[in-house]
């Protein structure tokens, strides 16, 4: 297992490096003087000179890059148009998005995985059709549209739930009230993917020889399905979850915008609309880095679940 993880960490570092280079070059690729872009479009020569000095714009690119990375590692991602620390803004708004993402993921898993298992075990029967159709529709629906409709139905028409904004976790009930619709909406796509994946994976597992052995041992059907078959299917599904994380990030951006949640995702859109390049740079870097780290965590979970990697001492 050690070797596997070491390789994964190494790969993650490489990816981080390349991603950061791309972000760095991206900002430098903006047509026009980077000093103007990085400096809130001010034309004041003194200000521009200060910016050139701060970001070392007169030095060769590699030097600039190293300096930038150095600053980033020290938590300094520059200041945005309003002279606020980018890093600070991100840090304040990130937990909100994390809460949204984690809750949505949990919801998707809790719904998607059992549904997939049930569909696989009752193949061809009505419950199977219900699950597969639901999953198909869930895949085909743009979540932001659902979000809009939910707002109209539940908030505006029925006044059941608040339409927008966010309440901190210090008020847990209000917090969940505000999070309920966004989480449901965001989890739809992921749940649909999990349902389909789980169903397909379980059908394979249930047809495997070791399931026949389990039955021949006289184990109960419940034990056969939920322990022997499921355990194997979870392994493949873990890799799928890893691949869906990117979609989750994209989803967070859109859902926060619709529901008026001032999280990291909404920050991204604001940054683009305001052409605040320092902010954009910081946001994209953090998003990419966050993805790489979370993906690594998923890889770790995978290595724990898969005994071929966990106990790699083979004597065969």
């Amino acid at each position: 297992m050690g070797g596997f993880l070491l390789r994964k960490v190494g790969a993650a570092l490489v990816v981080l490096l390349v991603a950061s280079m791309l972000v760095f070059l991206g900002v430098r690729a903006i047509p026009g003087d980077p000093a103007i872009a990085l400096g809130a479009e001010s034309r004041d020569p003194a200000v521009l000179a200060a910016i050139r000095h701060k970001y070392m714009l007169d030095r060769p690119l590699p030097v600039q890059y190293v300096h930038w990375v150095w600053m980033a590692l020290h938590g300094d991602l520059g200041t945005d148009q309003r002279d606020l620390s980018v890093a600070h803004t991100i840090v304040t708004r990130l937990p909100i998005s994390l809460e949204l993402a984690i809750l949505s993921m949990l919801l998707a898993v809790v719904i998607g995985i059992p549904a997939g298992v049930i569909a696989a075990t009752r193949r061809g029967k009505p419950s199977d059709y219900v699950v597969t159709t639901t999953a198909l529709v869930g895949l085909s629906v743009p979540h932001f549209w659902i979000g809009l409709l939910f707002i109209v139905w539940f908030a505006v028409d029925l006044h059941w739930l608040p339409a927008s904004s966010y309440v901190t976790v210090h008020h847990p009930i209000a917090n969940l009230e505000h999070m309920l619709m966004p989480c449901i909406v965001l989890s739809v796509g992921l749940a649909a993917v999990l349902m389909r994946q789980m169903r397909s994976s379980m059908m394979t597992s249930l047809g495997a020889d070791y399931v026949r052995t389990a039955r021949a041992k006289g184990l109960s059907e419940r034990s056969v399905i939920w322990r022997h078959a499921l355990r194997n299917s979870l392994i493949t599904v873990t890799t799928v979850i890893g691949l869906q994380l990117g979609g989750l990030i994209s989803g967070v951006v859109i859902i926060e915008t619709i529901f008026g949640i001032a999280g990291f995702g909404a920050l991204t859109v604001e940054a683009v609309n305001q052409r605040d390049y320092t902010l954009i740079q910081g946001v994209v870097l953090v998003a990419a880095a966050g993805y790489v780290v979370v993906n690594l965590a998923v890889d770790i979970v995978y290595s724990l679940l898969n005994p071929r990697i966990r106990a790699a001492g083979a004597r065969s």
């Binding site: 790969a11 900002v27 085909s140 629906v141 993805y291």
Partner: protein
């Protein structure tokens, strides 16, 4: 001695096509999906002739009107015909979906095939590149591209295409990994074929069914993606319609008239469902393990 009936001799390829067609027709859902896709594509392609009005023809006497004989689906907040906007919008959205997928296939498939064929350090390098691509979800990519080049349909399509590449690279790689073990590969080598020929003339034709299925299943994601990007202002710029732009417009009038939000969304759902059902059906008929 029996006489051989020449008309009964069909090539294996023709027989297979007949078999596939029969299997497809046994799946009503897939057929419906195909019909819907074709209808949408044709209507979108023939927009200039099919749409009753132009996308920007305003009529300030009929703002937010309900459906009437003049405007089958009513009008929007500027008096523009909703049905026409839907048709023109569909044109932009589906175009983005198709082009993004096409771009992704053209770039990703060869890359994936090379990774699967040569393996070794080439495979590892491509795996890293794929990881880097994955680290930028389509929205973040679109944000980046919009920042550098300004928001536009082209940039949105580009972002969507790039975001679709990792999945396709992996699939192409997986296919090649399996196919390179087939007997026709050493046979081709023995006949003096070089790597390029083996990959593209021998292995690729065996992958077409998988690639077709994947393309069909990638398009709806791209269409939804374009809608999302345009909704956020990162794609098609108003007043040019796309389904995403229409949803953005509808957002401001949600409390007054939610009708405007329903139609574009419904259009997206129908088209996506159709593509997904079609893709699932295709995957089924190409799978040698299915019995019908």
């Amino acid at each position: 001695m029996s006489v051989v009936d020449a008309t009964a001799l069909t090539s294996p390829r023709a027989r297979r096509r007949v078999l596939l067609r029969k299997r497809f027709l046994r799946r009503p859902m897939a057929v419906v999906g195909l019909v819907i896709v074709v209808v949408f594509v044709v209507v979108a392609a023939l927009a200039p002739w099919v749409a009753p009005y132009s996308a920007s023809a305003t009529d300030f006497n009929a703002i937010l009107a309900h459906s009437s004989s003049k405007h089958l689906l009513g009008t929007d907040e500027l008096g523009r015909d909703e049905l026409s906007r839907l048709i023109w919008g569909g044109r932009a959205s589906m175009q983005a979906g198709f082009l993004a997928t096409l771009l992704a296939m053209i770039v990703a498939v060869p890359i994936g095939m090379v990774a699967g064929y040569y393996r070794g350090w080439v495979d590892t390098a491509i795996a890293r590149i794929t990881d880097v691509l994955l680290a930028f979800p389509f929205l973040i990519l679109a944000v980046g591209l919009a920042a550098i080049l300004g928001p536009s349909l082209t940039n949105a399509t580009l972002a969507l295409g790039i975001a679709s590449m990792p999945g396709l690279i992996r699939i192409a790689r997986g296919e090649v990994l399996a196919l390179r073990e087939e007997d026709f590969v050493p046979a081709a080598v023995a006949n003096g074929a070089n790597d390029f020929t083996i990959i593209f003339r021998h292995i690729l034709p065996n992958m077409t069914s998988t690639l077709l299925v994947q393309a069909t299943l990638t398009i709806p994601g791209a269409i939804i993606g374009e809608a999302a990007l345009s909704f956020l202002g990162l794609g098609v710029q108003p007043p040019t319609p796309s389904w995403g732009v229409m949803l953005q417009d509808a957002q401001s009038y949600l409390s007054q008239d939610s009708r405007l939000a329903v139609f574009p969304g419904l259009a997206i759902v129908i088209v996506s469902l159709a593509f997904n059902v079609l893709g699932d059906g295709l995957r089924d008929i190409f799978d040698p393990r299915t019995t019908r």
